[in-house]
């Protein structure tokens, strides 16, 4: 599974993307965020307030209770400020 990070999520984690293999117990976006926070201080700092983190699954916006089964690309980012 490919993970992409943008804006201050990217800066805090210290990487723009990585490829990971979460355990089978990680079924939803919320599970994924919780599991990522166990991977070190940088993740904990970036994802400490999950409500501030928006998610896209294969380039579609998704809620935190969405399933990640079969998803190839997960993006995590702050609320958008385009336009």
């Amino acid at each position: 599974m490919r993970l992409l990070y943008f804006a201050w999520v990217r800066e805090r984690i210290g990487a723009a993307e990585e490829t990971i293999e979460p355990p089978a117990t990680v079924e939803t976006v919320g599970d994924l965020l919780r599991w990522l926070r166990t991977r070190g201080d940088a993740y904990e700092q970036a994802l400490t307030d999950p409500t501030a983190v928006r998610v896209a699954l294969d380039q579609f916006h998704a809620e935190h209770d969405a399933s990640i089964a079969g998803v190839r690309e997960v993006a995590l980012f702050p609320p958008m400020t385009g336009g």
Binding site: F77, P79, M80, G82
Partner: protein
């Protein structure tokens, strides 16, 4: 179905060029509405806004927003141009142009697209002051309110 023209670009956006093609050679277009969003610097301290974007999803999401506007309003053509990279004060960040037979559809489609671009298009703005990077622009609750105006059933 409406004609869509969507581009996410690193170069300056030219209003005249983007709108000229909308009604070129056509005699059934009665109304063209354009919205141009510019980089502001009220304090005189901003050197540039740096727009980070999610390549691929940015184009896809803008296209989905434009398709949604086309399904909802009777428009003929929708063009969207969105900058990424460094944008200086006074430069265009985003251009939305809509063409239709009658004016109300063109106005509403352009306004709808802008409201959803603000809340759904994957772009993030970082301010660069003369003294260096100064942080990410926070999302505005007024943009969520603006989007919520359109939440009634289509």
């Amino acid at each position: 179905m409406a004609h869509l023209s969507i581009a996410v670009v690193a170069e300056p956006i030219d209003l005249a060029a983007a709108t000229a093609e909308l009604a070129a050679g056509r005699t059934d277009i009665g109304a063209v509405v354009t919205f141009t969003g510019l980089c502001r610097d009220e304090g005189g301290t901003l050197e540039a806004l740096e727009l980070e974007h999610y390549p691929g999803m940015a184009e896809a999401e803008i296209t989905r927003i434009a398709e949604s506007a086309a399904a909802r309003f009777d428009v003929d053509t929708i063009a969207v141009r969105h900058r990424y990279g460094k944008v200086r004060p006074g430069e265009v960040i985003v251009l939305v142009a809509t063409a239709s037979k009658h004016r109300q559809a063109a106005f509403e489609a352009a306004s709808f697209i802008m409201d959803f671009l603000k809340t759904h298009a994957p772009f993030w703005k970082k301010e660069h002051k003369a003294t260096g990077p100064s942080g990410w622009v926070a999302a505005k609750s007024s943009d969520d309110d603006a989007e919520a105006r359109w939440k009634n059933p289509i």
